[in-house]
């Protein structure tokens, strides 16, 4: 089985032109890349970043690229696993420090990552999430090895406290010689540019997406009482404290109003206290239901039970939850923070200030709109929203980024050191320049110990041309039917 794509040489242009095959959607000769997605956060952990990586990888595979994913081991899940369409995932046995982020010494992951990159003939490293130490490590090593790098940032950060200052410094170092950066909203782009002192030309804005077939409205929804749905982690950042003021006020004003709250977290106790205090639990009708932690597959069924979706986050870069809710046909009421104003148009979302009074007003407006029937039907909302954000569009735009990056040169060692020392400040720059030199020496040592020519090339299992699928020709038809 020959491997396809990727250059045999480490340096130089990485594109290999792929001949046309019948049944393909594209007719022009597009360059394909070997992409390695690196992050600490991946399946079996469920979350925004994880699903973003997975969906993006699947769509890129569909477009003909080779994608592998590198993450850390989750419990017993170590080694190599294969997901749908031959997506290969490496679960590296690295120690997890805190909140699913690996403990890093910056050097101990070099041998493993180098091996993977050489084996899979990777040309582009795409790291996700600034909270992930492995992502930054991979960027660092990729630059030492002369590979192109892309970074996606999924969150917003502050500037004022000590931890933020340090994190921003580290981010500056990490991103100062990265080829391209992707942010999920314009606010996020501004935030990242300020934090890492970047040139805004190298930052692209590619939003997240939502699978509209997973989130469809329920045609048989009840209309007798109005239900407000909240699905989020119950932590301070998501504004759960505001709920403790909204719930009693609205429940007293409207007798037929119900709340459904899904999600788990340390602030759950406050909601339980509110419920007890205002006796919203043990009357004949249960006004406030706390569902606890929800599995991803259950979210849609919870969302369609409501008419209004409330989001009280205090900070959000993109907020997939409101798009999911809009896709299910709910009216959205949210706080005006972060990137939320950019996500949905005015007629689908009501934006409020992050205070109890303002959110109550917004909710009352939504309730009165609902009662008077001014709101469009859920199916209509779903049809509108489904055109806004799709994964295929995200993949197409990301591919443009890769094509642009593939044409750029990687900074050689001397330019890189210069960049570090000039861009990152005197002290930090010198320290990291030193670390870059050590990294380079370590890499040279590894290359001498195990030359690249001795490393086996991995069999390419990705996509319709993948090795495993070729053995069983009948599964290709099945696979094609399953693509969205």
């Amino acid at each position: 089985m020959a491997y396809r794509g990727g250059g045999g040489r480490r340096h130089g242009p990485s594109a290999a032109f792929h001949p046309v095959s019948p049944g393909r959607l594209f007719t022009c000769r597009t360059p394909t890349h070997n992409i390695c997605m690196v992050s600490d956060f991946f399946y079996p952990n469920m979350g925004g970043v994880e699903s973003h990586i997975y969906q993006l990888s699947q769509c890129l595979i569909e477009r003909g690229h080779k994608v592998i994913i590198v993450t850390h081991a989750y419990g017993n899940r170590k080694g190599i696993r294969y997901l749908t369409k031959g997506l290969k995932v490496y679960y590296l046995p690295l120690k997890v420090m805190y909140n699913q982020s690996t403990a890093t010494t910056l050097f101990h992951s070099l041998p493993l990552l180098r091996y993977i990159f050489v084996r899979e003939r990777v040309t582009i490293i795409h790291s996700h999430s600034s909270f992930s130490a492995m992502a930054h490590d991979a960027l660092f090593h990729a630059k030492t090895m002369g590979l192109r790098t892309v970074f996606t940032d999924h969150s917003l950060f502050g500037f004022a406290d000590v931890s933020s200052v340090l994190t921003n410094k580290l981010l500056t170092v990490s991103l100062c010689d990265t080829n391209h950066i992707i942010c999920v909203s314009y606010t996020s782009k501004e935030n990242t540019v300020l934090r890492a002192a970047l040139n805004p030309e190298i930052v692209s804005v590619i939003p997240n997406a939502v699978d509209p077939t997973d989130f469809t409205p329920d045609p048989f929804r009840r209309h007798d009482s109005i239900t407000i749905v909240i699905v989020s982690r119950l932590v301070y950042r998501k504004g759960t404290d505001l709920l403790s003021g909204i719930i009693p006020e609205l429940c007293q004003k409207y007798q037929d109003l119900n709340f459904i709250i899904g999600g788990e977290g340390p602030k759950r106790i406050i909601l339980e206290e509110v419920r007890e205090r205002y006796q919203l639990h043990d009357s004949s009708k249960i006004r406030v239901r706390l569902l606890g932690a929800l599995e991803h597959k259950d979210v849609r069924n919870v969302l369609v039970q409501g008419h209004i979706f409330l989001n009280t986050s205090l900070t959000e870069a993109f907020c997939m939850a409101i798009v999911e809710a809009a896709s299910c046909g709910l009216q959205v009421v949210s706080t005006r923070v972060g990137g939320i104003p950019e996500v949905l148009p005015e007629n689908l979302i009501i934006l409020c200030e992050p205070s109890v009074k303002s959110l109550c007003e917004g909710l009352e407006k939504a309730i009165s709109q609902l009662k008077s029937g001014v709101l469009p039907a859920p199916e209509k909302i779903h049809n509108i929203v489904k055109t806004f954000y799709t994964w295929r569009n995200v993949a197409e735009r990301t591919e443009k980024v890769y094509n642009r990056v593939a044409g750029e040169t990687v900074l050689p060692m001397d330019k890189r050191l210069e960049r570090l020392m000039s861009h990152c400040g005197p002290v930090t720059g010198c320290i990291f320049a030193l670390l870059a030199v050590f990294n380079f020496l370590f890499l040279t040592f590894l290359r001498w110990m195990t030359p690249d020519s001795l490393i086996d090339v991995a069999i390419d299992a990705t996509g319709p041309k993948g090795a495993w699928i070729n053995q069983y020709p009948y599964s290709r038809k099945r696979g094609r039917n399953k693509t969205r």
């Binding site: 606010t187 300020l194 104003p341």
Partner: protein, 297 residues
């Protein structure tokens, strides 16, 4: 992809929305980029003399510690009769007590709901306990070496200064801890004095100067700032005078410290404001400005 936008004849303006496909490339930088960036919106402009006035709280505490040390030294050397200190302390406490109520015309007492009877009970409790435990306190640190005692006291008094509530809203402030450290230091030092009566009087004096004096000063500062400044200056000079009688070098150093805290530090603070660069924008985490515990109380 080029960075410059191709000027369109139809003049499609760039919008900050994600749900529409705009004809601009993904890394397009509009002139509205960073338009919501604000810098230093919460920056305060400081007035020099106002800051100097505020620094008097720190001066007061330093002088209290200094006076306490000086008085202890005199008692240890035997230069000060304990009865004299007791009498003076009692008289000053009574004066302060009366003044405390007079300053705001009884307003504070009415608001806190604390009766004179409760004050009397507290005072009796203090006196009784201190008197009762003073023999124990006297022999408490007999077997501990003098250097250890001095080191511990210095450490505790330093801690008292660090954790004291100067009126700032910082996380490190803990008035309980600072008072406890001061009392611990006073007990350590009092146990070194020659007789039981000395120990009792020393601890009482420590309570007066570390617990009662700051309360009075806070009230004075709030009600009559001019008087407060006068009292602070008087207190500072008396502390310096007392220290001078013990050691000239110490007095010089202490004077330097006081001057630098009251005059130099405010100047430096105002100078550094020029370099402040706080960035604010739509990406900031929203602050909940109201008190949400009222829903649960």
């Amino acid at each position: 992809m080029c960075a410059q936008p191709v000027p369109n004849t139809t003049e499609i303006r760039w919008q900050k929305v994600l749900y529409e496909r705009q004809p601009f490339p993904d890394n397009y930088v509009d002139q509205r980029f960073l338009e919501e960036l604000r810098k230093n919106i919460h920056a305060r402009k400081y007035q020099y003399w106002a800051v100097v006035f505020e620094s008097s709280v720190v001066i007061q505490q330093l002088c209290s510690v200094c006076v306490f040390g000086v008085i202890w030294w005199y008692m240890d050397e035997g230069l000060l009769a304990p009865h004299w200190l007791l009498g003076t302390g009692l008289a000053l406490s009574l004066t302060g007590y009366v003044l405390f109520d007079l300053l705001d015309g009884g307003e504070g007492r009415r608001k806190s709901g604390r009766t004179r009877w409760a004050d009397l009970k507290s005072a009796l409790v203090f006196i009784t306990f201190t008197y009762g435990f003073s023999p124990v306190l006297k022999t408490l640190t007999e077997s501990v070496s003098t250097d250890t005692i001095y080191a511990m006291s210095v450490f505790m008094l330093l801690g008292h200064l660090i954790f004291f509530d100067y009126g700032a809203n910082a996380a490190i402030v803990s008035s309980t801890l600072s008072l406890n450290m001061a009392i611990f230091a006073s007990v350590c030092l009092a146990s070194r004095l020659p007789r039981t009566l000395h120990a009792f009087i020393m601890v009482t004096f420590a309570i007066q100067i570390f617990a009662l004096w700051p309360m009075l000063q806070k009230k004075l500062k709030a009600c009559t700032p001019r008087c407060y400044v006068g009292v602070t200056l008087l207190f500072a000079f008396s502390a310096l005078g007392g220290l001078l009688s013990i050691s000239a070098v110490g007095a010089t150093l202490f004077a330097l410290l006081l001057v630098s805290i009251s005059c130099l530090c405010p100047f430096y603070l105002i100078r550094l404001q020029l370099f402040k660069e706080n960035i604010h924008g739509p990406w900031d985490e929203a602050e909940i400005k109201e008190d949400l515990s009222r829903f649960l109380s």
